[in-house]
């Protein structure tokens, strides 16, 4: 329960309409896109300005009440579930595009703006903002920054961190800081901008961002390569990179994923194939032609069963949209889908696919795999039922082993979804004991009272490693 005096103060800051503690609001902010996690907050607040956020943080610091800042709550690591109660701060009202600077090619935007709407606007001005997480139709720029979201264009264009060049953020004590700026070079002190990107709401509350924009590619071409052999598809991915071609998009879907995605999107995807690769290249026309021809050659050498080039842009966009639905579409098989995003160096993608399938067999769980194969970022997704505790336990064991396998192959426990609650017990596996200590030191410097999204990133205890280290 929130202290009455604090409730009054919060209401004074934002107005009665924008602070809520009725049961409906609490229940509706007790979850995010992560399965099986739910915890009620004590209040929900909707600020409109950075000044309000600052006042709110001063009040919450004084009363030692924790806060979880969030956009649409579509993250997949339990990052915005208020496990310690407190206040959920929804940034939706701060959704304005402050400025597009056509001389510097930057955009300044408030955190609550929906990513797809931002991208649409930027493209209408003849510019390009590449990060395109699958949730972009609903996720916000602020949420993308907090999680350092990736997307389908990550391998060629990088992820959110590569486009954030300046931030305004409110610290736990209510102080407002500004980092970076409309600057392509800036080494004045530690790079706080990059530090805040991907900090999952644990260091500060982002209230404004300056983003780098780039000129759009002249043309795009999209291709679908279909395989009867799963590993042929996976090998193709590594071989394309080896051939020094970096496609704009290089996505992988296995058979179960193809089926559910087609059930949803009705695109006539080949339901009898073991895997498909969705490949897109963009750039100037000659390069695109040359790269696509070479990619087609590689696909054929790896015995692709069929190769189709999308005839129209509209069809290509439909294919990309369908791929973005994969995670949720898998819920058609079983009600609960648990997905992870273990990532390996891209030369090891075929090994990783192999290991995932072995592990799924070992624990007798069904795991569908899709993902951004081109950047080594796979999304093995277990289809299960939250009501079956025994099976869910086996799924947990399988994922532990998948994390272990990823690290063994030189990879990481999470490529783009973040640590949040779900991967906190495994963080030490990746960054080591000393790494955890440094990160905790940083957390303490920003948020000494541990009010910002407590319980995330750092687990009370690290999971014991399930497999003896082999390498």
């Amino acid at each position: 329960m929130v202290d009455e005096a604090l409730t009054r103060r919060l209401r004074t800051i934002v107005g009665d309409r924008y602070y809520r503690d009725d049961r409906e609001s609490l229940v509706a902010h007790s979850y995010d896109g992560t399965p099986m996690l739910q915890h009620l907050p004590d209040g929900v607040i909707y600020p409109e300005t950075a000044a309000q956020v600052s006042e709110i943080m001063k009040a919450l610091s004084e009363y030692r009440v924790p806060v979880v800042s969030r956009g649409s709550g579509s993250n997949l690591c339990g990052g915005t579930v208020p496990v310690h109660g407190g206040i959920v701060m929804v940034m939706h009202r701060m959704n304005k595009l402050v400025e597009v600077d056509m001389e510097n090619l930057t955009a300044t935007v408030q955190p609550g703006m929906i990513t797809a709407e931002f991208i649409e606007h930027i493209e209408s001005l003849g510019l390009f903002y590449p990060p395109d997480p699958s949730s972009m139709k609903i996720s916000t720029i602020g949420g993308n920054i907090a999680e350092c979201s990736g997307g389908l264009r990550g391998l060629k264009y990088g992820t959110t961190k590569d486009y954030v060049i300046g931030l305004e953020a409110v610290l736990a004590n209510g102080e407002i800081i500004r980092t970076g700026g409309k600057l392509m070079k800036d080494v004045a002190g530690y790079d706080l901008t990059k530090l805040l990107v991907g900090s999952e709401g644990t260091l500060a509350i982002i209230t404004e961002a300056t983003l780098k924009l780039i000129p759009p590619p002249a043309v795009k071409k999209t291709m679908l390569a279909m395989y009867k052999d799963l590993y042929g598809a996976a090998r193709t991915v590594s071989r394309i990179i080896e051939a020094k071609i970096i496609p704009a998009t290089l996505e992988f879907m296995d058979n179960p994923t193809i089926r559910v995605v087609d059930d949803f999107a009705n695109l006539g995807l080949p339901r009898n194939m073991e895997a498909i690769l969705l490949i897109e290249q963009d750039g100037d026309p000659e390069t695109v032609e040359r790269d696509m021809a070479r990619i087609q050659e590689i696909c054929e050498q790896e015995s692709a069963d069929r190769i189709e080039v999308a005839e129209t842009r509209e069809h290509a966009d439909k294919l990309l949209t369908a791929r973005r639905s994969a995670f949720t579409a898998l819920a058609r098989i079983r009600p609960t889908t648990i997905l992870e995003d273990a990532t390996v160096p891209r030369s090891r993608i075929a090994d990783m696919v192999l290991r995932i399938n072995e592990i799924a067999r070992k624990y007798d769980v069904s795991i569908a795999t899709f993902g951004h194969a081109g950047d080594g970022n796979l999304h093995p997704t277990a289809t299960t039922d939250a009501r079956d505790a025994e099976e869910v336990h086996r799924v947990e064991l399988a994922f532990e082993e998948i994390f272990e396998a990823a690290i063994e192959l030189g990879g990481t426990i999470t490529g783009e979804h973040g640590v949040g609650l779900v991967k906190a017990p495994y963080l030490e596996w990746k960054v080591g004991h000393a790494g955890i200590d440094v990160m905790k030191g940083i957390k303490g410097a920003f948020d000494p009272l541990n009010l910002l999204n407590p319980g995330k990133m750092f687990a009370k205890e690290t999971r014991k490693r399930v497999v003896i280290e082999r390498g």
Binding site: E24, T34, L37, V83, F327, A331, P335, L421
Partner: protein, 474 residues
């Protein structure tokens, strides 16, 4: 992977399968536990893909106003996390029921069924004031199911509109005593009639040329009183395209308004009457020209799935229901449509407002557009967010005037931007709402609102003796 925090979610723990085994103290919670499909509640995995599709979320930006939020609230009640209070009921009634969230949902969650089951439960425990109770009784039991009374209302309304009583009423300012939304509705109500489609053209109408199929018309209750011309034009257009049309006279209201208002038993009763009325008609298709009715008709199989006597007939019925546009496009021998045959005979711009239930439930979004694009000398312009609910939503514009008004205002901004002279749609509710919008937001001088069928029928190429200039209802 929730294990690390399982202690903090103890109160949400679930049974191994099926429904939670809870003995709720709250009677409404008990009813909801019994009525709601728990698998559907579980199937929502909260990805949030439905949020941008939801009109009430778009208007408010508030999570409880979204499909994901509403499902979370329903589940919280069933799981015993929350007592269903008035705010809960209000939230459930705030949903338009447009079902735009369903095609947006990759997981295929049947939101429409969940919201209907919830409203059904709410209705069982509702404490309506005497006046509301009386009105609901009169409307749901006394009017919609009864053809005779509907006709009587149609005749009375026609008398009111024609006799000068309307002028007198308006002159005295008595309408000012009614709430705003009823007053506005009264102004735009089309000419009613006690003469329905059967009274005008009989119960069978032959196909023009070689017969492609024999089909039955579902005439609807409101359609047949306020838009009987549209029903007549639907029959004639089907005939032009090669269909023999029968209109079983024993058919009644589809039950959609009942189902959406939580009167499920009433809806089932009406469905059974309709199954009887159509089963011996010997038809290949049952044609609907109202998205709202059609959407319930195609779900009769679901509505009567537990009815042993009727479930099989209901499956046949549901599989036979088709929207008029879709049937024309997919099976019909289409006549040529030409804007030059229309009364105003100048090149025009037309635009279209989807009927949500036609689009999201009957999955017929493309067919009406294909038909409109076939009209020579008419330019079809897609309206921004044509696929978004107009706020009519059954009786929503009467029960939730504030939200409906807000949605309508945005809709009319988009409509005005198309610079169309005709705004076409496929459902009586949408038709009335669009007329209201045009009247209220000033596009009125330029824009005419019509049912797609009426627009098309007026534009059948001349030299065709059936196209005798019968005008639509607009």
């Amino acid at each position: 992977m929730a294990k690390a925090i399982s202690s903090s979610i103890d109160k949400f723990e679930q049974p191994a399968c099926g429904k939670p085994n809870i003995n709720h103290a709250n009677p409404l919670s008990r009813t909801m536990l019994a009525k709601l499909d728990y698998d559907q509640l579980t199937n929502c995995m909260r990805c949030g893909f439905c949020l941008p599709a939801c009109p009430t979320f778009r208007e408010t930006g508030l999570e409880p106003e979204s499909p994901r939020g509403r499902i979370a609230l329903m589940k919280a009640v069933v799981d015993g996390v929350m007592e269903p209070d008035q705010a809960f009921a209000d939230q459930m009634n705030h949903c338009l029921g447009c079902r735009a969230c369903e095609p947006a949902c990759p997981a295929d969650v049947k939101y429409g069924q969940l919201i209907e089951q919830t409203r059904d439960a709410l209705e069982e425990h509702a404490e309506h004031g005497l006046a509301v109770k009386g009105l609901r009784n009169v409307l749901f039991k006394g009017v919609f199911p009864k053809r005779g009374r509907l006709k009587w209302i149609g005749r009375s309304l026609a008398f009111y509109q024609k006799s000068g009583l309307r002028a007198i009423t308006r002159g005295t300012g008595i309408m000012k005593l009614f709430p705003g939304q009823i007053r506005e509705m009264e102004r735009i109500l089309p000419q009613a009639s006690g003469q329905g489609v059967v009274e005008r053209i009989g119960t069978t109408y032959p196909a023009k040329g070689e017969k492609i199929a024999r089909v039955a018309l579902f005439r609807g209750c409101i359609m047949d009183v306020l838009f009987a011309d549209t029903n007549v034009n639907t029959v004639k257009l089907l005939s032009e395209a090669g269909f023999e049309v029968v209109i079983p006279d024993a058919q009644v209201c589809c039950g959609a308004l009942h189902a959406h208002s939580g009167e499920m038993d009433q809806a089932r009763e009406l469905a059974r009457v309709n199954l009887q009325a159509f089963k011996d008609a010997g038809v290949e298709y049952i044609v609907s020209n109202a998205g709202g009715c059609g959407a319930l008709l195609v779900e009769y199989d679901h509505l009567l799935q537990d009815d042993q006597q009727y479930s099989e007939l209901a499956r046949w019925f549901a599989a036979s229901v088709v929207d008029v546009s879709k049937l024309l496009v997919e099976r019909g021998r289409l006549p040529a449509f030409d804007e030059d045959n229309a009364p105003d005979a100048a090149p025009v711009t037309i635009t279209y407002q989807d009927s949500c239930h036609l689009r999201n439930v009957m999955k017929s979004a493309d067919a009406p557009r294909q038909l409109m694009r076939r009209v020579s000398n008419a330019r079809f312009v897609e309206m921004k967010e044509a696929d978004r609910c107009c706020g009519s939503a059954g009786i929503y514009n009467v029960t939730q005037p504030e939200m409906a008004g807000q949605i309508l205002e945005h809709k009319m901004e988009h409509a005005a931007r198309t610079e169309a002279s005709y705004l076409l749609t496929s459902n009586p509710g949408c038709l009335l709402q669009m007329k209201l919008g045009v009247e209220k937001h000033g596009a009125g001088s330029r824009m005419e609102v019509l049912h797609v069928v009426d627009f098309l029928y007026e534009r059948i190429a001349r030299g065709n003796d059936e196209a005798d200039g019968s005008k639509g209802s607009g």
